[in-house]
């Protein structure tokens, strides 16, 4: 795999490879020494043009557990405030010698631009670009769902038959987009619930059902419900009259939470606006996977960094995932 830019172009096999590899990476955390020497000597630059807590820390932790060197850049307090653009910033970092760039940027397509422009040679991992995609979040969500459903027998399995309802600000959500593509690829049925103003115009072409009434969606007893954050920083129009009205109609409050099945998995990509899109009781309940999502994020990002950073440079590799041919047994024999 040369880059990870989106989940839309990720095949089922490539997605399962990442999820299975993350199972191995998660096992490392339970060992006496939770660290692998695999990426020793490789360096990873985290380029965060937008604020982030968990994604940045999670990528940092993942790189460190694989023994890579990490540089972290945040736009705040950098030369971006002096007007330096993406190209110059990226080339500056690349000139210091990095093997992979993890980028979060407010512009949709920023990661792809970086990967395809020829500005830098490093592998590019998209950590969220505008309202486009956030592939590692979707992968960690799929991993969390798979573990919650199949437990120790998760390896090699997809999410067929699972009904997942995603609620909230779909319009601005890169998490929702990445999840729609990935969950669909893995065989889950996805339903989106949002006020009509927060459903994207092209949603009819997505492989999902849509619904504007959360109560109806809850009555359908989904296996998992994923609440999205209301992204106040991207709300430049009046999408709904008032936050309280939003909470009343589309928030997972105590009453709605009580109507969910006892085994329903409750997810949220964080950061949570408690009392707005999710109540404290729902967020802290036994069925809540919010903290498992954070834990699993490190394993997923270890798997992704391993796949983009190990292996000889593949010439002619294409966008999305160009998986290297699996080593044949004969090849293994050769180095045995």
């Amino acid at each position: 795999m040369r880059h990870l830019l989106d989940t839309r172009s990720l095949s089922r096999d490539a997605a399962l490879e990442i999820l299975d590899l993350a199972e191995d990476m998660a096992a490392v955390a339970d060992r006496a020494v939770p660290k692998l020497p695999t990426l020793r000597g490789r360096s990873v630059a985290n380029l965060f043009f937008e604020d982030s807590t968990r994604t940045r820390l999670s990528f940092e932790a993942a790189a460190k557990r694989l023994s890579a060197d990490v540089m972290t850049f945040s736009a705040k307090g950098s030369s971006v405030s002096k007007g330096e653009g993406l190209k110059d910033t990226a080339q500056t970092i690349a000139a210091m010698g990095v093997d992979a760039v993890v980028i979060r940027h407010g512009a949709s397509g920023a990661a792809q631009r970086l990967a395809e422009s020829g500005w830098i040679d490093a592998a590019v991992v998209n950590a969220g670009d505008g309202t486009h995609e956030h592939p590692t979040q979707a992968l960690l969500d799929a991993f969390t769902l798979r573990r919650a459903r199949h437990g120790a027998a998760s390896r090699g399995r997809d999410l067929s038959g699972l009904a997942v309802t995603i609620v909230g600000d779909i319009l601005h959500s890169r998490v929702a987009r990445s999840n729609v593509w990935l969950l669909h690829t893995l065989g889950a049925r996805v339903r989106l619930v949002a006020p009509a103003t927060l459903l994207p115009p092209g949603v009819a072409a997505w492989p999902v059902e849509t619904e504007t009434d959360l109560d109806a969606a809850i009555a359908a007893r989904p296996d998992a419900i994923m609440m999205l954050r209301i992204q106040s920083e991207r709300m430049r129009d009046a999408f709904f009259p008032h936050e309280r009205e939003y909470a009343r109609r589309w928030g997972l409050d105590d009453d709605r939470f009580a109507r969910l099945g006892p085994d329903t998995m409750v997810m949220h990509p964080g950061p949570m606006n408690r009392g707005l899109e999710i109540s404290a009781a729902a967020a802290d309940s036994a069925g809540s996977l919010v903290l498992a999502q954070v834990t699993n994020g490190v394993a997923i990002r270890m798997a992704v960094l391993y796949l983009v950073l190990s292996g000889a440079l593949e010439l002619g590799a294409t966008r999305g995932v160009a998986a290297a041919p699996a080593p044949t047994e004969a090849a293994r024999e050769d180095v045995a």
Binding site: A27, L36, S310, G311, A312, E329, D334, V335
Partner: protein
């Protein structure tokens, strides 16, 4: 390209039985943890555990130790997909770990395995069992238990086939027309 079979099913069975006897001569079964290196080493570890159970009456703990993440050639080869590491419930601390692999060649796999083992715990001792030792060591590593010494040229390839994976037990030497891959 010519292939000749050097060990057949009965030979492999005999070699493994002898290794099993040698292992329990050195250490009691209750203290042993057999860790096979995937893919075929893991199969051999399970077989050896079964043979030891037949000899001692008590089964030796066995598992799999994946060394992919510890290899020194990761940046020279296409991306490798690791196999799961399975450590038996008792762990490896203060046990005698026997690493099991099918072919011992450069020794680099075993070097990686020793590093991987180091991160799992602190065994009392580590020993090495290999079904085939083909020579050409690049590191100061030797096997404690060897099924068969097969002096070979670097251009040749040793193919180990096992029933569990390949449908038959057989070890063959294949002439390498194109010389050494790695």
């Amino acid at each position: 390209m010519r292939t000749r079979t050097v060990l057949q099913q009965a030979d492999i069975q005999r070699a493994l039985t002898r290794i099993a006897h040698e292992i329990v001569e050195g250490d009691p079964a209750s203290e042993l943890v057999l860790l096979g290196i995937p893919t075929r080493g893991a199969v051999l570890a399970e077989r050896l555990a079964g043979l030891i159970a037949g000899i001692e009456g008590a089964e030796a703990a066995w598992g799999a130790l994946d060394v992919t993440m510890y290899r020194d050639d990761l940046s020279l080869q296409p991306t490798r997909t690791p196999s799961p590491t399975v450590v038996p419930p008792g762990g490896v601390d203060d046990r005698v770990v026997v690493l099991v692999d099918d072919v011992l060649y450069s020794g680099r796999t075993i070097r990686a395995a020793l590093d991987a083992l180091n991160d799992l715990g602190r065994p009392r001792a580590v020993r090495l069992a290999a079904l085939v030792d083909r020579g050409h060591r690049e590191l100061p590593i030797r096997a404690d238990y060897v099924g068969k010494n097969l002096p070979s040229s670097r251009s040749e390839r040793i193919n180990v086939r096992l029933v569990e994976i390949d449908g038959a037990d057989e070890i063959a030497i294949q002439d390498g027309a194109e010389g050494e891959g790695f």
